[in-house]
Symmetry: C4
Subunit: 212 residues, 4 copies
């Protein structure tokens, strides 16, 4: 269980599995908590409105729900893909991973801001926080990948081919670039920023499919 | 860990395990989150009513709770059964699985709509959304099974006997058929639609028991 | 992975592990959700009261919180102990386990009823639902154990010594007996019923410790 | 699976894995539940305020969020580190671990108290409960470690070198000491107490990094 040779390095394959389990829990929980911000429109509305009309009126909530669900899902898939290379972890890597999860857990909150305000005068503010959180998340993501692959102790000997490496490098830069753009756009149009955020999820789901 | 032969195909048994863990998390959270929509009737009521009377008055909440709990449970059992055949996954399968989980996470919300409105004038609207979500879920389910069994890379060589295969095909069609019926019925009677939804769960729990 | 010999029996050790993972998720989630019913007394109170006084006033919430936490914890420990004997599961066992989890997920709701009403005129009603849920849970528990140990396909050959068997039989009856008593007492005194419920948890934590 | 030699001791490596899974679930849920206490300032405010101003006004919520997230994260990392030594568990250890998790699940509640009151006249009361919970948690932590390492049945033969042992002893005392200090300071200044609590998390994240 321990490949330690004098030094107190004790984290191996088993520990990598537990870090994945904890991360899976946070991803799964964050993605499921999103639903708590879908509200019954009749219960919360003061005016009398039919349930159907109320649900149609809150389409931004559903749009934000789909966007956040898709974003967390592709992040979980990417997290999964990263760990198919990692054979060992250390304390530093665990904290960097925690830093990433911090922004994942913020997602239900920022999603609720967008749901409630995307059609109001506060549309830009909500979108700035929403896209800004994802921008920081994608930066945390790049730091984590960089740390894993430049620390030869963490990846296996057959880590990746040159082709894979190039593909990943390319894919990794898409996140910060488009989220950065969405962040800038948010100062002018909240809705356009939201569309750009969804576009990132679609890109990773469709555009990066590996040949099989 | 990797059966790759040049191509960047890296998903094997270990990854299948992690997809199951993530899915288990979402199923377990969604099924437990249902409880948040059971409300203390005295706290929320404006008129003065005894706790007992209040709880009895909100029997639709308990009915919807039982229906959704049973439905998510049989889906988890079915998901479990599917993975007993699957030895390998790929990116496409992960996203199809995520599409399925999307409707699972919506369940607490649609359940709350039914709880709050099944006795009101919005009964039909609530039931349409409730059964409609399960209809889409069962369609996603059929797509996922179809993908798994028609992609020979995903299932083991001893995948299934002809008898098992026929039994499954038959069972898989029950979901979309009865949920489709519940969806149509919902436009006329919310309560009858809810009963049909519960019937699907009972069918899968009792009617499909394999000989042992 | 499959010990099938013609029959579609496919559930083995791996599946037992996944049933445990799903159950662990529900237990862990239900035990953590309890906290959502601890309310900030100043936010919810209409009158002006200091935070300290408000927290002291809602001691029943903390009492119910501790009782429910302890109860779910000992159930998880018992669930864990049961699975140390089980080497194989089947569909029937999965649904019985789901029936058990149904009452586990109800716990946060019944806890909130007790928290809000144990000092009011509805004290008995709240305690009847609280202890009644645990009574049903302990009955489900007995059915599950009975099913596992009388179906020789589910337990390993070295399942248990006669001594262990007797100890378990004895312990299993404590739950329904004392919860049944708490249920009856609840019709007269809600608080006493709550104390009896806590006593069950203490009994299982302390009174059943195995010799080591 | 069982190293029992007559006695009903049945907990081994597999059980340790399940205790970790359950604990991971509780840690992951508690850390993600924190987000539910971040409120949309415009929805809850009675006065009209811009979203941006409202978010800036509730900086204490974000400060408490970061502090609690960092604290639960370092505890999870520490829990993980502890289990890299543990090869076997028993019933007593499971309950001590449950005692530890009790305070972990309280964290979202005490965090919400600090969020809502750190700038009000109830600042001290909130901080007393917040730091007091962490003080008890760190004491439970010390009891758990002490139990694990003084019960030779629980740790492997190569448990730790003298150097590691000394480092751990030292680190273990930091928690109760600084949380105790934060608890005392809370009676005079809530904000200073909160800063001290955050300092503990930073110490464990940065100050205890093992040489690699």
């Amino acid at each position: 269980m321990s490949e330690a040779t004098g030094a107190p390095e004790r984290f191996g394959q088993k520990d990598s599995a537990r870090l994945e389990a904890f991360s899976d829990g946070v991803f799964a929980f964050a993605i499921t908590l999103l639903v708590l911000y879908l509200k019954d429109p009749v219960q919360s509305a003061s005016s009398s409105v039919s349930l159907l009309q109320g649900l149609l009126n809150q389409w931004p909530s559903f749009f934000a729900y789909v966007t956040s669900f898709a974003t967390i899902l592709i992040m979980w898939v990417g997290h999964h893909e990263m760990f198919s290379y990692i054979v060992r972890i250390n304390r530093r890597f665990m904290f960097l991973n925690g830093f990433l999860l911090f922004f994942v857990t913020l997602t239900p909150f920022t999603t609720s801001l967008v749901s409630d305000h995307i059609l109001s005068g506060d549309s830009q503010t909500a979108a700035v926080f929403y896209s800004g959180t994802f921008l920081l998340l994608s930066i945390a993501w790049n730091i984590l990948w960089h740390d894993a692959f430049h620390n030869k102790k963490l990846v296996g000997p057959d880590a990746k081919t040159q082709e894979e490496s190039n593909r990943m490098q390319r894919n990794l830069l898409v996140g910060p670039t488009v989220y950065g753009l969405a962040f800038l756009v948010a100062f002018f149009s909240g809705l356009l920023s939201l569309v750009l955020t969804l576009a990132v999820a679609i890109f990773y789901a469709v555009g990066t499919r590996a040949p099989e």
